[in-house]
């Protein structure tokens, strides 16, 4: 493993290695000294061209817990707002000796391009509507932690699949790990290529819920809703929102996930979000450990 750009690039063994490593590293977060010396003297650059609080903080905490030096670079107020191209930014980072570059970019494929320009490892922290592999890894980690397995798990991913990099990464990773994914969305919010994805598709949430072990609710991305994908927020919420009545249809061990940030009352009701069977808060903590594992495995040793 040199880069982490797509969840689909991971073999089953590589994905399990990341999850197993994360499981060991989770103990570090429980100690009074939450730090390991492993990446001393290495530099991790957080290159964020898009607003993000939780992912950037999560990567920053992960790198710092491994003793790496962290440089945060956000597009706002930087040379990018003066018109610098991605390539020139990349060359600047290269000159600074970045061992790993964590990139979030509004354009799908930007991390892939970056990987050709820098010598260090590239970690995709979300590119456009394409992928967000560390989110998929932390989701898989959270599922395995709660339910004890991934093989044969029935996972429903509900909501705006069309704009969701989380959904795509999850589908690819969960298929590799042997879980059965069903995407649930109105037809307008499904990408055209969805029939080629390794998963099932349904338009009817109520039919899917009783069989699901995991329900992952996606955020309705209001900022991308200018093209009227559904008649009204109320109608969306009625047909695809997870409220108390729908929650009651789940079997007793099923869990509810959400990558955050949530629109309470829209795709998920406050009552469901705060229930003990929701993993939303622990997903955040797991994010740090999974990202520690990814950073360690990518730049902890000598690449080639």
């Amino acid at each position: 493993m040199k880069h982490l750009i797509s969840a689909g690039d991971l073999s089953r063994d590589e994905a399990l290695l990341i999850l197993d490593t994360a499981e060991e590293l989770a103990r570090v977060s429980e100690r009074s000294i939450k730090k390991l010396p492993t990446l001393r003297g290495r530099t991790v650059v957080n290159l964020f061209f898009e607003d993000s609080t939780r992912t950037r903080i999560s990567f920053e905490a992960a790198a710092k817990r491994l003793s790496a030096d962290v440089i945060n670079f956000s597009a706002k107020g930087s040379s990018v707002s003066k018109g610098e191209s991605l390539k020139d930014t990349a060359l600047t980072l290269q000159a600074m000796g970045a061992d790993a570059v964590v990139i979030r970019h509004p354009a799908s494929g930007a991390p892939h391009r970056l990987a050709n320009w820098v010598r260090g490892s590239v970690l995709n922290a979300g590119d456009g509507t394409h992928e967000h592999p560390t989110q998929a890894l932390l989701d898989a980690f959270s599922m395995r932690q709660r339910l004890g397995r991934l093989e044969g798990l029935k996972v429903a991913i509900v909501g705006d699949i069309l704009h969701s990099r989380v959904a795509r990464s999850n589908v690819l990773l969960l298929a590799t790990l042997g879980a059965e994914v069903t995407l649930v969305a109105p037809p307008t919010l499904l990408p055209v290529s969805v029939e080629r994805w390794p998963c099932q598709v349904s338009y009817d949430l109520d039919a899917v819920l009783p069989k699901a072990d995991v329900v992952m609710m996606l955020r309705v991305q209001l900022e991308r809703m200018n093209a009227a994908y559904f008649p009204s927020a109320r109608e969306y919420s009625r047909r695809y929102g997870l409220d108390r009545d729908r929650f009651a249809k789940l079997h007793d061990d099923a869990i509810v996930m959400h990558p955050g940030p949530m629109n309470r009352g829209m795709e998920i009701s406050a009552e469901v979000a705060d229930s003990p069977r929701s993993t939303i808060v622990e997903q955040v903590g797991n994010g740090v450990t999974v990202r520690m594992a990814a950073l360690y495995l990518l730049i902890g040793g000598e690449n080639q």
């Binding site: 197993d20 490593t21 060991e24 100690r31 000294i33 730090k35 010396p37 040793g301 000598e302």
Partner: protein
């Protein structure tokens, strides 16, 4: 297939020898720590952790003291991480009582350069502050590169630096033995 499998492995210790060596070490731990009341046994994965459990069993058997036993992975503290691809992590399991103020006995299968023990001391430092730290090893094969010595040794084994020492334990390998592999060019 690999070079190592074509080499002649000479058994240096057999099952009963290992059994006797561990029995003696358990007695020595009890003697030197005056009954092992504050002792925590921490094995270095993989085989050190197995040995730590065996020692704990013997201590319990001889004097009825239940010694907390766990494991401490040192991978993240190694000084040679940059010399190869990232290694998978071993299991760290610190007993519930912690190690603060305790006598920690580190347990490893083979003591060689001393670098693993150095890493283990660093790892301990991040977990707590033991009163004393001691070291038990099944085989001491010499060639130290750091000022480190063992407090309890199963067998001192003179070796050439190019040789390899392999410890087999029934819990992991199906049988107990210590083998010396001649001239494994590394």
């Amino acid at each position: 297939m690999t070079h190592a499998q074509n080499q002649v492995a000479r058994a240096v210790l057999e099952g009963p020898d290992i059994h006797r060596a561990l029995t003696r070490i358990a007695h020595e731990i009890l003697e030197r720590t005056r009954g092992a009341s504050d002792v925590v046994l921490l094995g270095i994965p993989t085989r050190g952790a197995t040995l730590a459990h065996r020692l704990a069993e013997r201590v319990a058997q001889f004097e009825g003291v239940k010694v907390p036993v766990g494991s401490i992975d040192i991978t993240m503290y190694r000084d040679d991480l940059r010399l190869g691809p990232a290694r998978p992590l071993g299991h760290t399991d610190v007993p519930a009582g912690g190690i603060d103020g305790k006598t920690v006995v580190l347990v490893d299968d083979v003591l060689f350069s001393g670098r693993t023990v150095r890493a283990a001391l660093d790892a301990l430092n991040d977990i707590g502050r033991p009163k004393t730290v001691q070291l038990a090893t099944l085989v001491d094969r010499g060639h130290r590169e750091l000022p480190i010595r063992a407090d309890y040794v199963g067998k001192n084994l003179p070796t050439a630096k190019s040789e390899k020492v392999k410890v087999l334990l029934s819990e992991i390998d199906g049988r107990d033995a210590v083998e010396l592999l001649k001239g494994a060019a590394r």
